[in-house]
């Protein structure tokens, strides 16, 4: 029998910043759109009309969650990455004389890789730095804003640490400088109340599968009057702003998920927040040499990222997985890269801790009983791996004296 077979089904899922399960009500709402409601919403006949009306309802449900002024400001896309690319490339296309972009050093690859690619094409990118708690250097932001900047793209909440950026304030500053403002709010939508009509945010990306809708559906919020150039041209779908036949079932599912998220907003903030705190306090009390990364006072209610010093994250995840517990890590090995997470490096977390960062991200489906099981499971796993670690003195159950000096491997 393989070790995995012992895992109690269905397991404890604490990786909701990676993706969420679709809510059963979402799936129910979608199913007719694979069968009897198959029409093309662009068609004139009754088959198309019914689907067209369902899309309108979904658009209003998204509008309500975001607090957008108009339903026409909601553009359905295929995912958060498409929304990010559409926003940034549109700003560059619409303002060819502006050749600079402002973003942060800790963005999701959906923005960061695109910006790095644009640098190769000759654009100048300002990467705002963060301090050891992941807080933005606002002075650098003010100094970077100018009439050469086409767009500012700053995430609302960090996917790894949950740390929030002051995007509403930053959008005001961008507006004053005459610069477009986009936020990748993929982690924030559904977890934080939003009222976009009261902000000066011009564009916002969201992704369905982060808020209990299916994968393969996203939204670009596009404030009315924002100069725009589509990424995909073709039919007149989404008022010509995103061509391609609508993914009607997923759009209906996303609408339902937004309605549910709005209804559960308080629950997300209070009950999920309390579960997260219970998890975090339990682990910090039982495990020596670990600490919370990011800004604990200012973060998403569902996210907790703990750095376990002197051990490596993939090994932690494999041992958690054997117990049916799902989490994620910022170690190099989990992604197959040569460096630990760029978010941890930007916060100047030492290598011996950055590789051991473990992210627990909760949802409204988690229970106190599950959290208690995780609190019990983590300390023995950390102890087991530290027994193998060259930085750890097993007899003293503490790091060896002067760990960075005691073990100095040759680069291999």
């Amino acid at each position: 029998m393989s070790p995995e077979a012992k895992a109690p089904a269905p397991g404890i899922y604490l990786d909701n910043n990676a993706t969420t399960r679709a809510d059963p009500a979402v799936v129910d709402a979608m199913l007719p759109f694979f069968t009897e409601q198959f029409g093309n919403p662009s068609s004139l006949h009754q088959f198309g009309n019914r689907v067209g009306r369902a899309l309108k309802t979904a658009r209003q449900q998204v509008q309500a969650l975001l607090g957008a002024e108009l339903e026409s400001e909601i553009v359905f896309t295929s995912c958060g990455t498409e929304s990010d690319s559409t926003a940034i490339l549109s700003a560059l296309k619409a303002q060819p004389e502006r050749r600079e972009i402002i973003t942060t050093a800790v963005e999701h690859p959906a923005v960061l890789s695109l910006c790095e690619h644009l640098e190769k094409e000759g654009y100048k990118v300002h990467y705002l730095q963060v301090d050891e708690k992941g807080r933005l250097d606002m002075q650098q932001y003010l100094e970077s804003l100018s009439n050469k900047v086409a767009i500012v793209s700053v995430m609302w909440a960090n996917n790894e640490t949950g740390t929030l950026f002051p995007v509403e304030e930053m959008a005001e500053l961008a507006r004053s400088a005459g610069v477009m403002f986009h936020t990748d709010a993929v982690q924030a939508v559904g977890k934080l109340p939003m009222d976009l009509k009261r902000t000066t945010i011009d564009m916002l990306s969201l992704s369905g599968h982060k808020l209990h809708a299916p994968k393969g559906i996203g939204v670009l919020y596009l404030r009315r009057g924002t100069r725009f150039r589509p990424l995909l041209r073709g039919g007149h779908q989404e008022r010509g702003r995103r061509a391609g036949t609508e993914n009607s079932a997923s759009i209906v599912g996303l609408g339902k998920a937004c309605e549910l998220a709005l209804a559960h907003m308080e629950d997300e903030k209070i009950r999920v927040g309390m579960l997260r705190d219970r998890l975090e306090r339990g682990i910090l009390a039982a495990v020596p040499n670990c600490f919370v990364t990011g800004d604990p006072a200012n973060r998403l209610p569902n996210t907790c990222n703990i750095a376990f010093e002197y051990i490596e994250g993939e090994a932690i995840l494999l041992l958690l997985n054997r117990l049916g517990i799902a989490a994620s890590s910022g170690s190099a090995c989990t992604s197959g890269s040569l460096e630990p997470s760029h978010v941890m490096r930007a916060m100047d977390i030492p290598f011996t801790a950055a590789h051991g960062t473990t992210r627990f991200s909760l949802s409204r489906y988690n229970t106190a009983e599950e959290i208690d099981r995780v609190v019990d499971a983590v300390p023995p796993i950390v102890a087991q791996l530290r027994k193998l670690s060259p930085y750890w003195d097993a007899a003293a159950n503490a790091p060896v004296a002067e760990p960075e000096q005691a073990f100095q491997p040759a680069y291999a």
Partner: protein, 299 residues
């Protein structure tokens, strides 16, 4: 999550020889903290026979780093130092029934820890001899540093040449953009520009060769490729040349490899370039036996 073999999982969940050997007389410390993999290997060596009596490891690293360390200690216990030094990283990977390409460096770290420990025992200075770059080709596990060094050392200018020399890009071809970027950068350093159009059509205007010269050219081209294959524990031998058909035998790890046909294409490309004429490289097994000789010989 990685697709680890059952043996890797077994050695990770139940590592052998974990911890330091108390009265060790050989210690090797290798790894890179930025990469998140580091290993201390401690050995107890019999001074008269140089047999490794005991081995222990302490590893800061992922599942496959811990499994590779565990496998290494199991392999070398009871060996003499000289025999142990023959253990290659492929031996460690094979012992574990394979490692994902992104994780092969874990087995390299094991071999290097052993070299460092032996050097430490013998009072020699040990210098690691490779630098690792970001993985570019996932089919053949080729990293950026190897590609860059090979381009510089051999004055390469096309993706096809990089594939011929390093195998990078010879599989699914998804990394060709990455290889083109490396070529663009290195050629720019040398004051040249990367030209993808010229790259795709090698000029063929070499004079016609005599039969013997032609055979020698083909032999030499195959000889030049063999070290690349041998690095992956494979090999190729020339069997026969029949007009435009060149018959070869793929041996070692190459025989039965899913990518053997890709490797054959690489060999063919190399011969075609050296020879200046179109030939086909075929496995000797596919050769149609002449009917007169073939009769009565079971296939």
């Amino acid at each position: 999550m990685w697709d680890y073999s059952e043996t890797v999982k077994e050695h990770f969940f139940n590592p052998r020889n974990a911890g330091a050997v108390d009265d060790a007389n050989a210690i090797g410390e290798v790894g890179s903290l930025s990469c998140g993999d580091a290993l201390r290997l401690t050995l107890k060596v019999d001074p008269t026979t140089e047999i490794i009596l005991d081995a222990g490891f302490q590893t800061f690293g992922c599942g496959s780093a811990i499994a590779s360390s565990s496998a290494l200690t199991e392999i070398i216990k009871g060996m003499t130092l000289d025999t142990a030094l023959q253990v290659s990283n492929q031996d460690i990977a094979e012992y574990l029934e394979g490692l994902p390409p992104e994780k092969m460096h874990c087995s390299v770290m094991g071999r290097e820890a052993l070299q460092a420990a032996v050097a430490n025992y013998r009072g020699e200075a040990w210098q690691d001899d490779h630098e690792e770059g970001a993985l570019v080709c996932k089919c053949f596990a080729v990293d950026a540093v190897l590609i860059e060094d090979t381009i510089r050392a051999n004055g390469l200018g096309t993706v096809q040449e990089v594939t011929n020399y390093t195998k990078a890009g010879g599989g699914c071809s998804a990394c060709h953009e990455g290889i083109e970027e490396i070529l663009t950068r290195i050629l720019a350093e040398q004051g040249k520009t990367f030209d993808p159009i010229a790259a795709s059509a090698p000029p063929m205007r070499k004079p016609k060769l005599g039969t013997l010269a032609r055979i020698r050219r083909i032999e030499n081209a195959i000889e030049a490729i063999r070290p690349n294959l041998q690095r992956d524990r494979g090999d190729v031998e020339l069997v026969d040349i029949d007009g435009k058909n060149v018959y070869v035998n793929m041996t070692g790890a190459c025989s039965g490899c899913q990518l053997a046909s890709t490797t054959l294409e690489g060999i063919q490309q190399r011969i075609v370039e050296d020879l200046g004429e179109r030939v086909r490289v075929l496995p000797a097994g596919q050769r149609q036996a002449p009917s007169a000789e073939g009769r009565g010989v079971p296939a």
